[in-house]
């Protein structure tokens, strides 16, 4: 497996390119020859039925899954062998009983000083600045396990943005979030990609918001079935075929 700079040969300021990516676990082929290209400032939605390999693709990009093929990344003026990746995991399983506040979670990620010794004023201010990006300052002293779906996604998003990554990966960020929460979260992601010029990759089963927010949609069902604008992919025969066959949403 390779993750390296590909030199920006595509003509865009920076981009993530996935070429011929395959994942096999034993004799089972989870992903077969995926080719995908994401430019900075773009939001690409990975869609597909359950078990299609969407999360596996994200894990491969995160370096948590062995794969064959090439994942390359380019930033102008930089030859970054390991792009900074911000990650918001799927269905974050925080235990409601854990006495871990949002501030504790940030301190564990950002500070060398043990969080159990307490959080310094400087660190608290830094955490508040991070939470400000997602309008979540009021959540700082709440227990992580007691946050609502939308609040938790915002907190994890703020965490993934510290430090500002080159690629932001979100695994099913809209699951467990109510309709208003989805709009708030998608608006935030829209602002973030414009303000920080980063690539956003997200898996989702919520297709309604895609035409408004996504630049590209990639339909995956173990291989790349279709890729294009939301209107192209969501209106394609391939989309209908995949989801009808699997008893999916449409």
């Amino acid at each position: 497996m390779n993750i390296f700079s590909h030199g920006g040969s595509c003509g865009h300021s920076c981009c993530l390119r996935i070429q011929g990516l395959s994942v096999k676990i034993g004799s089972d082929t989870i992903l077969d020859h995926i080719d995908l290209h994401v430019h900075c400032g773009e939001l690409i939605a990975l869609i597909g039925p359950n078990g299609a390999g969407k999360s596996t693709l994200l894990k491969a990009i995160l370096g948590q899954q062995e794969f064959d093929g090439v994942i390359s990344f380019a930033v102008p003026g930089q030859r970054s062998r390991s792009p900074k990746i911000g990650y918001v995991p799927q269905s974050p399983g925080f235990d409601p009983g854990d006495p871990v506040t949002v501030a504790d979670l940030f301190a564990c990620c950002m500070s060398k000083r043990p969080a159990f010794l307490g959080i310094s004023k400087a660190m608290r201010n830094q955490i508040l600045t991070c939470l400000e990006r997602v309008q979540g300052e009021d959540l700082i002293d709440k227990r992580v396990g007691t946050l609502s779906g939308g609040e938790l996604q915002r907190v994890l998003l703020a965490l993934a943005l510290e430090p500002i990554p080159n690629i932001l990966i979100l695994d099913e960020p809209l699951s467990g979030v109510d309709v208003d929460g989805i709009e708030t979260l998608m608006d935030m992601l829209d602002d973030i990609r414009k303000n920080y010029d980063l690539s956003i990759l997200m898996t989702t089963h919520d297709f309604a918001s895609l035409p408004r927010y996504a630049d590209q949609v990639a339909l995956i069902d173990r291989s790349l079935v279709s890729v294009g604008t939301p209107v192209e992919v969501l209106g394609s025969d391939a989309f209908r075929k995949v989801f009808n066959r699997k008893g999916g949403i449409l």
Binding site: T101, C108, P114, F116
Partner: protein
């Protein structure tokens, strides 16, 4: 030790007129914070039964040490426990079985092996009783010196790795995405617990040891709002129960380990009732 004895002599306590009680009290004061700190991570990482299994493996290690005629079977037990912990971590990472199933496999194997070795050639099991119940009153100044060294090592390890350990315990996938080597972190932590459990087994006892590694954290969890309170209460509860349990055992003539565990259970009951008020 001279200074400690002098301090004890100043205290108006009947039980502290005996050197063995002074040693035991110092051992409790050193061990309790260690168990308290470890318990927060064991409870958060859902490793309660794993620490129990480690106790069983320590017992097996002692049985192996005794049968081999080694003068200090505790060190054989430390090595055996480390091998046990590392083997468990390896099998867990390669198996798709639930963690509690694998703990059951390892724990029952360890205890069966321990009893098998201890009773080989018709050997008597009686000499191993002290490892089951423990005897804090048998602690010597040399043991206390060793405890201080282990405590210092654990505190340094804790301060350096606390945030990594916490993040790995509360959300391994998130920890991994932040560049933490979660497998290595968990393995080093289990190895540290293996050493602590094995060293403490002869004073605390196999049957009671696990309660000391679970109850302080479980009680603190009931009444803590954040990580700072969690660690502080766990250490405080362990220390309170340690001192109170030793005192109760002196006046009632019971096992100190059992008295400490019962007081910890009482603290758990009280904090359980207070959980809605505090959090």
């Amino acid at each position: 030790m001279g200074l400690w004895y002098a301090i004890c002599d100043l205290l108006p306590s009947e039980m502290l007129q005996w050197d063995f009680m002074k040693n035991a009290l110092l051992a409790v004061i050193l061990m309790a914070p260690l168990f308290g700190l470890c318990s927060t991570m064991i409870v958060t990482g859902q490793m309660s039964f794993f620490s129990d299994a480690l106790g069983h493996s320590a017992f097996t290690g002692i049985a192996i040490g005794c049968i081999c005629g080694v003068a200090g079977p505790t060190w054989v037990a430390v090595v055996f426990s480390l091998v046990f912990a590392l083997l468990f971590s390896y099998v867990r990472s390669k198996s798709n079985q639930a963690a509690d199933t694998l703990i059951g496999v390892f724990s029952s194997t360890a205890v069966a092996l321990g009893i098998f070795i201890a009773t080989l050639d018709g050997g008597s099991f009686a000499k191993y009783n002290k490892y089951l119940i423990g005897d804090i009153l048998s602690v010597t100044p040399a043991h206390i010196g060793m405890l201080s060294l282990v405590l210092s090592g654990v505190v340094i390890f804790w301060v350096v790795n606390a945030n990594r350990l916490t993040l790995t315990a509360i959300h391994p996938q998130l920890a991994s995405s932040r560049g933490i080597k979660t497998g290595l972190t968990q393995t080093v932590f289990t190895a540290a617990i293996a050493v602590i459990v094995t060293l403490a087994i002869s004073w605390v006892g196999l049957l009671i040891l696990n309660s000391l590694l679970v109850l302080p954290g479980a009680s603190a969890r009931n009444v803590s709002k954040n990580l700072k309170q969690y660690s502080l209460f766990a250490v405080l509860f362990a220390l309170m129960a340690g001192i109170a349990g030793l005192t109760v055992s002196y006046f009632l003539g019971t096992s100190a380990g059992a008295a400490i565990s019962l007081i910890l259970a009482l603290i758990f009951a009280v904090t359980f009732c207070l959980r809605k008020v505090c959090c």
